[in-house]
Symmetry: C2
Subunit: 136 residues, 2 copies
């Protein structure tokens, strides 16, 4: 029952970009230093965020990344789903999982489903702006 570093670091990058970005681009080298995260590891996390349009990057001198929306328009749930994959609590609920034959009579599936909803609802209710303002 764990969010891995991938998701946690993605959250911190988004917050860092919101706090230090302004209108310009922020180099990952800076973020890595501020957040005490290996630059090389950050470089493995960013492509997913770019692919889903959460941030955009530009090459070369003076380049870096910036948010594509305002901080209040990102939810933690959205960021985590992009960085981590689905937020479901059990493997049998994963999208690509082979359908469980016991699902119909499974005594526990309703609980896992509800747990997924509880987690998703909470995380979808927290925005990057909330995290910066300490309102989470």
């Amino acid at each position: 029952m764990m969010i891995s570093t991938k998701g946690r670091y993605a959250m911190r990058v988004m917050i860092d970009l919101a706090e230090h970005g302004g209108d310009g681009y922020v180099a990952m080298k800076e973020v890595a230093e501020r957040q005490q995260i290996s630059l090389k590891y950050l470089e493995k996390i960013l492509p997913a965020l770019v692919a889903e349009g959460l941030v955009e990057g530009v090459h070369g001198k003076g380049g870096g990344y910036r948010l594509t929306r305002k901080p209040e328009e990102y939810t933690a749930g959205e960021i985590l789903r992009v960085a981590e994959g689905e937020l479901v609590p059990v493997a049998c609920m994963l999208c690509g999982a082979e359908p469980c034959k016991r699902a119909a009579e499974c005594r526990t599936l309703p609980m896992w489903t509800k747990l997924g909803t509880v987690v998703g609802d909470y995380l979808d209710g927290v925005t990057v702006a909330d995290l910066i303002n300490g309102k989470a």
Copy 2:
């Protein structure tokens, strides 16, 4: 963000004991067959449940396991914590983790803490009896 088979199987064993136990002992061989879980793997999960007093086992012919309380007196949260370990969502919140130096100014820690509470509260509100009656 996943509950492993260990926790899921533990839940199913507890439910199975509640449904088929009555006052007597149920052999894991039966449970394994009914639940379609490898007997050998079940034998690795049960010791923790015994150690924490959730079930008790007796050796030999006619032996097996039985619940030590009524089904409505077990919560899913309790069972999962015994089988899986702590239910916290991030490694830095684990009991034995070395304290994070950034904790005081961490923008995300409050969210993880709240998420842990949300998950714990939900799971602590579901009993084995609820799962049997479909009230979860």
